[in-house]
């Protein structure tokens, strides 16, 4: 079955992973900007990163018939540094016109501090100013509930925000309902230890219904699985779900959300997509 991995940090993965993803039906990935595992030394490191995401990765993916798109931001883990945030936010507009940039992300909160919140809201302003889609990271573990609630309520108070243009990712059992109730798109990321397993993602789809829900691998430099979506497909079939529902989750829904950007070209089965 063809699928779109809406959240994959391919800069952290080898070319072998693109190969495996292509073999298992991946036709497109979108790569949010994220934390490299250490705080970067300054704004020029981000300029280099954004250039990499918009040149090298699309070319590497194209060799396997996988379309590669990206999202740009200063990630939440570095959002505490307000001066760095100001410098990086000033850099982003010059990259927004590149053909594979879909929006601003993954922005959000990490430990849910005042500075992180200010940096998050600055990114939202940038997205609104440039009419960009928004991809949101919700915090880890014990911080997820409060961080998600703070984010969702802040966005819901802003009449300029169209919830249909916002993906709130890394949802779990205690946060998905509040995200969906406010009309946002909701993402389940399939991680081996934290976030949602394929089985738990399926539970939530069964309970909340398939509308505005997507699944993704969120594969990165940590313990993660670039072919988590095929694993999800297998488990959904074992659970007795038909291909219509499964395809909606792994292809139809992400395509619907991403197609709100005029740059996103819908991959058709068996056809390699050029994002040039």
């Amino acid at each position: 079955m063809n699928y779109i991995d809406l959240h994959a940090h391919m800069i952290s993965r080898t070319t072998d992973d693109y190969h495996r993803m292509a073999l298992t039906g991946c036709v497109a990935v979108t790569e949010p900007a994220f934390w490299s595992g250490r705080d970067r030394l300054g704004p020029l490191a981000f300029a280099d990163y954004f250039d990499h995401l918009t040149t090298f990765e699309p070319a590497r993916a194209r060799q396997y018939g996988v379309a590669h798109y990206t999202w740009l931001c200063l990630n939440p883990k570095e959002g505490e540094d307000r001066e760095l945030a100001r410098q990086v936010l000033a850099l982003i507009p010059e990259f927004l016109d590149r053909p594979t940039v879909l929006g601003i992300g993954e922005i959000g909160l990490n430990r849910v501090t005042r500075n992180e919140m200010a940096t998050f809201l600055d990114h939202v302003e940038l997205a609104l100013e440039h009419h960009q889609l928004i991809h949101i990271h919700t915090p880890h573990l014990e911080d997820k509930y409060k961080g998600t609630k703070v984010i969702v309520e802040a966005l819901a108070r802003d009449p300029r925000i169209d919830p249909a243009r916002v993906m709130v990712d890394h949802a779990e059992e205690h946060t998905a309902p509040m995200i969906l109730e406010h009309g946002f798109w909701t993402g389940f990321t399939l991680y081996p230890r934290t976030k949602a397993s394929p089985a738990r993602a399926l539970d939530m789809i069964e309970m909340y219904g398939p509308e505005r829900l997507c699944v993704a691998s969120a594969c990165d430099w940590g313990e993660s699985d670039p072919v988590a979506i095929p694993e999800f497909i297998l488990q959904a079939r074992r659970r007795g779900h038909g291909d219509l529902l499964i395809e909606q989750m792994v292809y139809g829904n992400p395509a619907r959300f991403l197609s709100q950007s005029p740059k996103f070209k819908l991959p058709r089965p068996g056809v390699a997509v050029s994002t040039d």
């Binding site: 994220f34 934390w35 014990e142 659970r239």
Partner: protein, 112 residues
């Protein structure tokens, strides 16, 4: 609370036939971890916030009522919605604690 009855497409018998062994293994892993914790040669974390949250969550598993996963998540969550004045650590701990101690894995984990 929403009613999610009848939303799983498999029968209880099918669930047991297909998934009992997986979850039996997970149950034993959990039991062995708690045994290991008690056998530790240095009992220096008897009331650690993580083990306290763990025990509270275990009660939910054997109690009545739906949405155990959501309720366990809430036990493991910080429900104080106040923003922190400054970042106390880069990584989360898995269970709520205030004030937070230095995180043992700050240099090793935290991918998004």
């Amino acid at each position: 609370m929403d009613d999610y009855s009848n939303t799983c497409p498999l029968s209880q018998k099918q669930l047991l036939d297909d998934y009992f062994m997986d979850h039996r293994a997970q149950l034993l892993a959990l039991a062995a971890f708690l045994d290991r914790f008690e056998r530790s040669n240095l009992r220096n974390a008897e009331t650690d916030f993580r083990i306290e949250a763990f025990k509270e969550a275990l009660h939910l598993l054997v109690g009545p009522g739906p949405e155990r996963a959501r309720r366990v998540q809430l036990v493991m969550s910080d429900q104080n919605l106040d923003l922190l004045d400054v970042r106390d650590s880069q990584s989360a701990y898995g269970a709520p604690v205030h004030p937070a101690p230095a995180h043992p894995h700050d240099e090793q984990e935290g991918a998004q």
